[in-house]
């Protein structure tokens, strides 16, 4: 007697609709990892999503949660307001590299430093995607964008910023990890990291942060497969994967 079972079980909180993301954009994978984490931890009913400005501004169309739009860069402040108003809820921000590391630098650092019990998912694709591919704080040296057409130059534009390392250095941070979703091994690690971040929020250990290295095939002027390859060849060497802060790991030592 045989029975067919379904291996793929997409969480209910992930809405069943086509997304506006470009072919090969990693946002979809990151959204799914968040959906899986909050589903597996039983948090869906009390989660509040704080969106930001970027390609992911419509994330509330893809995750069926109470949600708010925040001004560019300010999601960590909006999330702070929500968490202080409703400390029993699970609050997370989902931000890109322009939003978080440029205009929002003060907000993310102070939110992390205060140890707000919220989670930030930081999707780093080294460009401003939504607005057409301008230079971002994480754009790599030599990388050409619409506002550094000759390639980012250290003397003129400075060096790309490694956010996870900076966030990890702040006192209020419980967990900070950088992951990628360019292959199955990395996706599995990323899934664990995202789950851990939310789990740490439930334990009120402080601020949790996951940086997800991601592609932007359209603005990198690459095919999805080429863009995916760039994660490994160019991005991971500069933005190393790994856990940079883990409050519980420290205690166990």
């Amino acid at each position: 007697m045989t029975q067919e079972i379904r291996v793929t079980n997409y969480p209910e909180v992930l809405t069943d609709r086509a997304s506006h993301y470009c072919p090969g954009c990693h946002h979809g994978i990151a959204h799914r990892l968040v959906a899986e984490a909050i589903t597996d931890l039983g948090l869906v009913d009390k989660t509040i999503l704080v969106g930001s400005i970027g390609c992911s501004v419509f994330i509330y169309n893809y995750l069926s949660l109470d949600a708010i739009e925040s001004p560019h860069g300010r999601a960590p402040a909006v999330a702070t307001g929500i968490k202080r108003a409703r400390p029993d809820k699970i609050v997370f921000t989902y931000q890109g590299d322009g939003d978080l590391a440029s205009i929002g630098m003060a907000e993310i650092m102070h939110c992390a430093n205060r140890g707000e019990n919220i989670t930030t998912i930081f999707v780093n694709n080294t460009v401003y995607g939504m607005t057409g591919g301008q230079m971002a704080p994480t754009t790599l040296v030599g990388q050409k964008t619409t506002t550094c057409p000759g390639g980012r130059c250290r003397e003129h534009e400075g060096m790309p910023i490694r956010m996870t390392e900076i966030i990890a250095s702040l006192g209020g941070v419980a967990f900070a990890e950088r992951v990628a979703v360019n292959n199955i091994k990395n996706i599995k690690k990323a899934k664990k990291a995202v789950a851990k971040a939310f789990e740490y929020q439930t334990r009120e250990l402080g601020f949790s942060f996951v940086e997800v290295l991601a592609t932007c095939p359209t603005n990198w002027r690459m095919t999805p497969l080429e863009a995916n390859k760039r994660i490994e060849t160019e991005m991971i060497p500069y933005f190393p994967l790994g856990t940079f802060k883990d409050a519980l790991a420290k205690e166990e030592k």
Binding site: T2, V7, P23, G24, C25, G28, R32
Partner: protein
């Protein structure tokens, strides 16, 4: 244990990330365009028998366009 995949061709954006991760190497770009103009990915019927049911393709698909099924034996008769 036979396995199979179903591609939601209306959701597929033809990014081909799935072709990179399939350990059996059976996913390929088809010759079909969907309504949005994307050339969708496929597994041919002949190749489906080689599907391992690992669901790596679904794991990397950013559009949740793949469903994976396994046929299990229902227990001792």
């Amino acid at each position: 244990m036979p396995s199979r995949v179903e591609f939601r061709e209306d959701r597929c954006k033809g990014c081909l990330l799935c072709t990179e991760v399939c350990p059996a190497g059976i996913i390929q770009q088809s010759n079909r365009f969907n309504q949005k103009g994307y050339k969708v990915a496929e597994v041919t019927p002949e190749n489906m028998a080689k599907c391992k049911g690992c669901a790596f393709c679904a794991m990397i698909c950013p559009d949740y366009a793949i469903n994976v099924f396994k046929t299990e034996s229902g227990g001792k008769a």
